[in-house]
Symmetry: C2
Subunit: 355 residues, 2 copies
Amino acid sequence: MARTACSGALVQQPDPLRAMVSIRDVSIAAGVSIATVSRAIGNPDRVSKATREKVLRVVDALGYSPNLVARSLRSQQSKLIIVLVTNIANPVLSGCIRGIEKVAQGLGYSVLLGDTQNDDTIEARYLNLLSARQADGVIQLSYRQHGKVDELILSSNPDAAVVNACACLDAAPCPSVGVDDVGAARAMTEHLLGLGHKRIAVMTGPDESPHSRDRMFGYRLQLRAAGIAFDDALVIRGEFTMKSGSEAAAKILELKDRPTALFCFNDEMAIGAIQKLTGLGLRVPQDISVAGFDDIPFSAYANPALTTIYQPAEEMGAVAMKLLDQRLCGETEIKTVTLPTELRVRQTTAPPGTA
Amino acid sequence: MARTACSGALVQQPDPLRAMVSIRDVSIAAGVSIATVSRAIGNPDRVSKATREKVLRVVDALGYSPNLVARSLRSQQSKLIIVLVTNIANPVLSGCIRGIEKVAQGLGYSVLLGDTQNDDTIEARYLNLLSARQADGVIQLSYRQHGKVDELILSSNPDAAVVNACACLDAAPCPSVGVDDVGAARAMTEHLLGLGHKRIAVMTGPDESPHSRDRMFGYRLQLRAAGIAFDDALVIRGEFTMKSGSEAAAKILELKDRPTALFCFNDEMAIGAIQKLTGLGLRVPQDISVAGFDDIPFSAYANPALTTIYQPAEEMGAVAMKLLDQRLCGETEIKTVTLPTELRVRQTTAPPGTA
DNA sequence: CCAAAAGCGGAAAACGTTTACATAAGAACC
DNA sequence: GGTTCTTATGTAAACGTTTTCCGCTTTTGG
């Protein structure tokens, strides 16, 4: 198991001079009781103006700041919330986090960010903080494997405060916020069809990913609406990474009747694919159109600039945090919020045969 | 100040059925004292085998997990460390974080990630967790404005456990880890000079950034070593973002004697610059070479692939965490670790006049 | 001017652990 | 067979808050 810190030796904290100044020190210095100090800080209107000012002056002079651990223990809430992420570097997720932080701040929470790297052990370690009361709630931002953690938490503790963001909407047994993957994929497919493409390949993510599944569903739905038969050969499997996008794109050239467009289920894969296709001598979009999903910041600066679907990542995080706060305040209704996406047409898509 | 959670109403946590099972419940169920339960869990060799097993069985049966808040309060350490980041989305920083997490896990710490967004208020809020004993230490990953926070913490509490990573090496009043920005910049400049470039423009970051300053220093040093005079007109100011890189690059064309190479002090700016230069009709690298710094994952997939300096981000984080742990265990020596960088020549640099 | 209410502040009981100290029972020693 | 050393456990005191009772003033209303 976890190695003991500092080379296995059990070292006692020296903690020299400067002991922490406690509420007791303040109370003595101010000549009032501990309770009064506590009230002066936390319930200002429960003490007289004179006392309050006297206490606050001493607080300032002594540089006192309340021990939050003790406060947590007593008041049974830590004002800490955990955000579980599979990958911090994912731009959609980091946008989401930013939204969470903003709202959290206003509500007086601090956020504990856990990068799980899709590792169950790490995940469990963070969840343990929840049941150990070191955190009040969890926002689950798992991009793939959604639902696993939620279930894990909820099965062991049905009262746990969990909110799911960036996840598919149906499976969540808890409040959640997300986008309409199906609709967005339809919009993109419609865009490509509208340009005149008939053979549109798709690059999916892992099969377990609900995003992958929903976007695929939207693609097929729109294809059908246009009266075009779905062709299984046009489905390429990726991993939501640039590397996998690059590798998978090579398969495009092996297809007998080469598709004129490629719809990648995220931007990273699209970028990888474009690199490979360009390297193989195809021009984008003249020889083949490529579209992405997410609109990560880089996509606008790619060469050529990527046509994609924008997701309101930051807002998603903000809503998630609000839902969690409501949950923490006793709200029991399980709300589901869906935010709108936006098709952003840039330079990687064009009518077929523009050469 | 911070709005009270849940629309200002002070709602009491309902916390219905299923009260948390405490150590007392376990002790009763196991027929031993609280102390024994505590020991069975924390100091297994202080109790007899029989009792230990009996206790652990009950722990399992009751699903008990120790309240970490109480433990923190008593033992004066939270096993939580805070990582302060100016921007989660920065690939170098997120790599660093990954390294931190890996080491932290092995040492039994959880990491609390704070995205400060360069906002002093947010920064202060996280630092408050430190002085409020809700966290044991801080790793400061500030990419720009380095040193500010360190000083802030240390001035109010000289004993605070702070480690600085990704920062310049000289200014830190605390243990730190980083790379040799000067040497790396020299290496890149040498590479460009070696290709035959005489007029090499640089795109810097903000003046306050120590990285910016050090890389500039390395550039000038190597220039002088090659007997080339430094030309102030070739210095373009950026903001370490793609947007600023794109905007600043336009100035290149306004220079009378156009430089044949552009050394950007990070990859994002290089990518922005390339987009702009290409858009303006210049070919990279035939008409102008462009180099970056950092080697973010995208750089290898850019079109053309970016020549840059690789930084061992993950290792940097790992070392930082180790330093912090040592500090937490009483080590007082202020160590400074410098990790090696690596020049990665790809497609955006070539001899001048290759056209 | 008196009863009731309101305002203010103190004492002390939690919150759930860890751990120093005490106790008791064997084991080991001469 | 007493003394001393271990070993195993229990008792109770922290850790630093918040908050529930109270009691003491002061105001208010009649």
